[in-house]
């Protein structure tokens, strides 16, 4: 595939994905395509794909519906949870509206309790995600994956064969490989692209419903970035790894602050970034449920206890991407990431000898000035 447009236009197009996806979703729905809405990266998307359904992400990333959500939910709750609930409650989000089934997992406390409330106005299936990556945990999750398959079969009156699941695994693995090759470009020093552009692609690709086509586009884009590499563009910039809670449009203020203060985000260790893309599913494992369970439960999110995988991943990313500084962005009231930041800070500063900064923020723009000063001071310190 060859991309005829120039790079800035392509990046812009990816960031438009979310908006354009509304129309595309509508079209596909009219053609009879089922949609499954999900929240976390623990959801094995191979199962909906295997039955020919489309997956759509429901994690809301702006504050528009938070006031409505706060009529039912406590104020001092994570903005992602409030906003997601608010969009479902007010029916303002077409992704919610068109989702035939919503799937959640028992990840953090706020989310799992919110799903109970969501079930009052939408069909919701909650997968029990163990909070430990023990052999027992893996076994439980494999069972949960089978139950999810059965739920899909009964809800959509269809059957899902192991052959179809294998095909879906192959497709998602191909996309993971393409995404890894794409964000892996940032290992180059100087970096070939800005972190905001990289984020647009990682986020936008989740809203392309034709997965194989999206994979081809990512591959073509990767080639184009290589072809047009200009080492002068980001020369001398401090190389930042961003970690912590999920980053959305409202938290892009942090990325903006980094890139307008002499830094460049070369790696995202969070949902949508390396945390959820890095590991492939074992296509040679004859037991597809075991293969899925092993891969998904390994995702090193802070809702796992203990969560050694995150340190292992950080260790590797800091070296591979030649990181100058780590910035952790945690959403307000995101307890697991907030508490785990202590371990991350100690590991990054003591074991890796890399400066680390912690920031707590939400979806509002009230702290934009402070975020800018903190990030500016951190980069001056590097």
């Amino acid at each position: 595939m060859e991309l005829v447009k120039d790079l800035p236009a392509i990046f812009e197009e990816f960031s438009e994905q979310r908006k354009n996806a509304f129309l595309r979703m509508h079209e596909l729905k009219q053609q009879g395509k089922p949609f499954v809405g999900g929240f976390c990266t623990y959801l094995p998307k191979e199962l909906p794909l295997a039955m020919g359904a489309c997956m759509v992400g429901l994690c809301s990333k702006d504050g528009e519906t938070i006031p409505e959500a706060e009529q039912d939910l406590p104020r001092n709750l994570c903005p992602l949870i409030k906003s997601s609930y608010g969009y479902a409650k007010t029916d303002k989000c077409p992704f919610f509206y068109f989702s035939d089934l919503i799937v959640g997992e028992t990840t953090c406390d706020g989310k799992k309790k919110m799903y109970e409330m969501l079930a009052e106005f939408k069909p919701v299936h909650v997968m029990e995600l163990p909070n430990s990556q023990s052999p027992m945990g893996k076994k439980l999750f494999a069972e949960e994956i089978k139950k999810f398959k059965e739920k899909l079969e009964s809800h959509f009156e269809t059957t899902i064969t192991e052959e179809q699941i294998k095909e879906a695994i192959h497709k998602t693995n191909e996309q993971r490989k393409a995404l890894k090759a794409f964000y892996g470009l940032q290992k180059m020093d100087p970096a070939p692209m800005g972190g905001l552009d990289m984020h647009r692609v990682l986020d936008g690709v989740q809203f392309r419903f034709d997965m194989e086509r999206a994979t081809e586009e990512v591959k073509a884009l990767t080639q184009k970035v290589i072809d047009e590499y200009d080492p002068e563009k980001y020369r001398g910039r401090k190389r930042i790894l961003l970690t912590g809670s999920p980053i959305g449009c409202s938290t892009q203020k942090v990325v903006n602050a980094i890139e307008s203060n002499g830094g460049v985000v070369v790696c995202y260790e969070n949902c949508g970034g390396a945390r959820s893309v890095d590991e492939l599913i074992d296509e040679t494992n004859p037991d597809v449920y075991d293969a899925l369970a092993k891969r998904y439960i390994n995702i090193p999110c802070s809702c796992m206890s203990p969560n050694p995988g995150r340190l292992e991943l950080m260790d590797r990313l800091i070296d591979e991407y030649k990181i100058d500084g780590v910035i952790e962005v945690v959403l307000q009231a995101c307890h697991t990431f907030n508490v785990e930041s202590y371990k991350i800070k100690n590991y990054v500063t003591e074991k890796k000898g890399v400066p680390y900064m912690f920031m707590e923020t939400d979806y509002s723009s009230t702290d934009a000035g402070q975020v800018n000063t903190r990030v500016g001071a951190f980069i001056e310190m590097l």
Partner: protein, 252 residues
């Protein structure tokens, strides 16, 4: 041949300017920021600028507002530089500003090794003291004259708004004004110390910002932190001085 650098720190409450010759503060200005930070910054710039100024650095929350500036640097870096210059071999800096407070860990060369900012609420900042002075009908200059009159008073609310009602209820219980003020100061110092204790500071700590002028604050902070707290007659100019020091490297 330029021989001076100019540093201007536009904080939330005051604008500070320092003219620096590489060794000492040659001239300085301090004006209230009011609602017009850009205008006040320009006034300070006009008063201090002369033909021998070779480089201008701005800092503080209004650092983007002076078009004549050659460079903008965050107040963290500037306070570290200024504190290292004024305080010598200090291990860290505590700055209590008008709308935030910060703790900075310094390496042995006076560079920022790590920092923390409390910028989420007005508690433990100059605003808190302004609120207290307004209710207790006293001026900042009176702070150092306060002395204990009765039993120690603890102010437990750390939200500025709630603390205001707590002070009012203490007044209604006829608690001495001095004791209330001392309670407020002690609670701010304790809070600041707890926040700064997240950084592994060694040796003495330099105290900067407007409140550093008051011995009462310095001594309470020292007691709360448990290590020597030093300050300087020019500590309110610390950020502007740091900006000027950073700028002096570019004066040719």
């Amino acid at each position: 041949m330029a021989k001076y650098s100019l540093g201007i720190d536009c904080g939330s409450t005051t604008v500070k300017g320092v003219l620096f010759d590489g060794e000492k503060v040659v001239d300085s200005r301090l004006v209230a920021t009011s609602a017009r930070p850009a205008l006040r910054m320009h006034e300070v710039y006009e008063k201090l600028w002369n033909e021998d100024v070779g480089y201008v650095v701005t800092t503080g929350y209004g650092r983007e507002l002076l078009p004549e500036a050659n460079k903008k640097v965050t107040e963290i870096t500037c306070h570290a530089k200024g504190a290292h210059f004024l305080g010598g071999s200090v291990g860290g800096v505590i700055d209590i500003g008008g709308q935030d407070s910060k703790a900075i860990l310094l390496d042995k060369d006076g560079n920022v090794a790590d920092f923390l900012m409390n910028d989420k609420c007005a508690a433990g900042t100059g605003r808190f003291i302004e609120m207290m002075c307004r209710i207790l009908e006293c001026t900042g200059e009176q702070l150092d004259t306060f002395s204990p009159k009765g039993p120690t008073v603890d102010i437990t609310s750390m939200c500025t708004v709630f603390a205001e009602s707590e002070i009012i209820s203490l007044l209604a219980q006829d608690v001495a004004r001095d004791d209330i003020a001392l309670g407020v100061i002690r609670s701010i110092c304790r809070r600041t110390a707890t926040f700064a204790s997240r950084l592994p500071m060694q040796g003495s700590v330099f105290f900067s910002g407007g409140l550093a002028r008051y011995e009462l604050f310095r001594s309470h902070l020292e007691a709360a932190i448990g290590r020597p707290v030093v300050t300087h007659a020019q500590s309110q100019l610390c950020g502007a001085l740091g900006a000027a020091i950073l700028g002096y490297r570019f004066v040719k």
